[in-house]
């Protein structure tokens, strides 16, 4: 699949105070995919989205949206984009219907009550259409923001932390809404803290930290990394080097030779390098251990390693 809908090239952003929020970001979003941007607080997720949507001026670099430069051809670029911001911001005293209709007009589209009706129904807001926003719950307000972003029929939807502060049930509902949108051909870029959300939703995952995009990968490829496990054996006596018979297991030594680390997945078992073979070989070599433990790395570990390599060696 190579049909880019957004191309971000060499994006740098330094704020007035000198804080560099983005450093040489290059990223391509494919048409029709769900892309999750993961990163800790202050990593640059919102700045990146804001530059694409025209809320923040980049210091360097450019962004193409469906082939249109988002500065020079801002009309064509922006009319393709819907943005759901992180903060619940809205006109407190407006009704749901009016605020969503306003957004459609603001994005230059002729009034279309049947489209607004469809959007409100799909987000379970139809019954609330005449309610003022101030009377709605947080979850409902979040849906109103999504409805506003969808009012002008965008091809790309940015969701900045869509499920922050949303309960589990509503989060599941949101995911369902996002899937439906994707099925209708909308490209979705979401930022999140929740790894679970990225795992659940995304086709591809990008990790951003301190303004740098440190990884962009298919979720499936990341998940295969997730499938790997690690067995650590605490030896009675330290090893200085590995016997030849153990070479095929691709082991590593740690803690000055007191720890033997074996990384494996399902395929190693099939190839005859599984745990049972390893343990038999160790016994044959007379290597004894006093304890063992296994752990499975999660996307969370990969994430933490990527964003905090020093603290988590």
């Amino acid at each position: 699949m190579n049909d880019p809908i957004i191309s971000i090239n060499g994006l740098n952003k330094t704020y007035q105070g000198g804080f560099q929020a983005l450093t040489r970001v290059d990223l391509t979003i494919q048409r029709g995919e769900i892309f999750a941007l993961l990163g800790p607080n202050g990593a640059g997720k919102t700045t990146l989205i804001s530059v694409v949507c025209g809320l923040v001026n980049p210091t360097e670099g450019h962004v193409l949206v469906d082939g249109f430069d988002n500065v020079r051809n801002y009309r064509q670029a922006r009319e393709r984009i819907g943005l759901v911001p992180q903060e619940l911001t809205n006109e407190a005293f407006e009704t749901v219907w009016n605020t969503v209709s306003f957004s459609r007009g603001l994005f230059g589209k002729a009034p279309n009550p049947s489209h607004i009706e469809k959007v409100l129904k799909s987000l379970a807001l139809w019954d609330k259409r005449n309610n003022r926003l101030i009377t709605l719950s947080g979850g409902m307000k979040r849906r109103v923001l999504i409805a506003k972003a969808l009012s002008h029929e965008p091809r790309i939807l940015f969701l900045d932390e869509p499920t922050a502060g949303v309960d589990v049930e509503l989060r599941r509902e949101m995911w369902e809404v996002v899937r439906q949108l994707r099925d209708n051909g909308v490209t979705i870029i979401l930022t999140t803290h929740y790894i679970e959300e990225a795992e659940e939703m995304a086709d591809r995952i990008g990790v951003i930290n301190r303004g740098e995009l440190v990884l962009v990968e298919e979720k499936a490829a990341l998940m295969s990394k997730l499938g790997s496990k690690q067995l650590t054996l605490n030896l009675h006596s330290p090893l200085t080097e590995l016997p030849a018979s153990l070479q095929r297991f691709e082991l590593s030594l740690a803690a000055e030779g007191y720890e033997l680390i074996y990384t494996y997945d399902g395929s190693k078992e099939e190839e005859g390098y599984g745990i049972s073979e390893l343990l038999t070989t160790l016994e044959r070599e007379g290597i004894t251990f006093k304890d063992l433990h296994t752990r499975q790395s999660s996307l969370e570990d990969i994430f933490v390693d990527l964003v905090n390599p020093k603290e988590y060696p």
Partner: protein, 253 residues
Amino acid sequence: MNLYPIRAIYMAEMARTRRTLLQSVVSPVISTSLYFVVFGAAIGSRISEVNGVSYGAFIVPGLIMLMLLNQSVSNASFAIFFPKFSGSIYELLSAPISHLEIVLGYVGASASKSILLGLIILATSNLFVPLEVAHPFWMLTFLVLTAFTFSLLGFIIGIWADGFDRLQLVPLLVITPLTFLGGSFYSIDMLPPFWQIVTLANPVVYLVSGFRWSFYGVSDVSLAASVGMIILFLAVCLATISWIFRTGYRLKP
């Protein structure tokens, strides 16, 4: 130019006016009427005619100008400040609309509201004093130009302000004093000679004078000076707004 976004902003702003009818329409009408009672009837009855016009009628153009300036500035400044304050401005900035369309929507709505108020106050003042409008075309021209120009100024203040206190700062500390000292309640002939010269530095003098001329055919400064001044104001405000949007000042980091 796309008319839909202009219409959306304009209608949303007018809807806000309807929602806050008491504050946005009734309250300025009442406060202006109070000026009539105090200055026009109570004190004014002891003042002889000014330039051949009864004092009660003389202050009508000045009072309308006073209200027009204050309302235009506060309408437009609040209209753009509030989305900035609440964060909902993200939608405006990410929409596929030009700067001109944004300004036409907000400033157009603010000016419409002020013009409407001006006409309501004109009708109200007719209940207190007999009115005549010598040059209706010029009266409307001054009304419309002043409403637009000061709505533009309000728009600039709304973008510049980073808190509610600053939002009030310019109207309270600049606009109100300039209006009170701009000949709303007196003719500048009534000032000592020195202050007659100083007061010419006050731009509001030209607006009030031109507007009053459209009613009674008498003015403190020439019509050309009044028209020139308001066009100069308009040009300065337009240039400032154009600079704001070009640089993203206080809008886009």
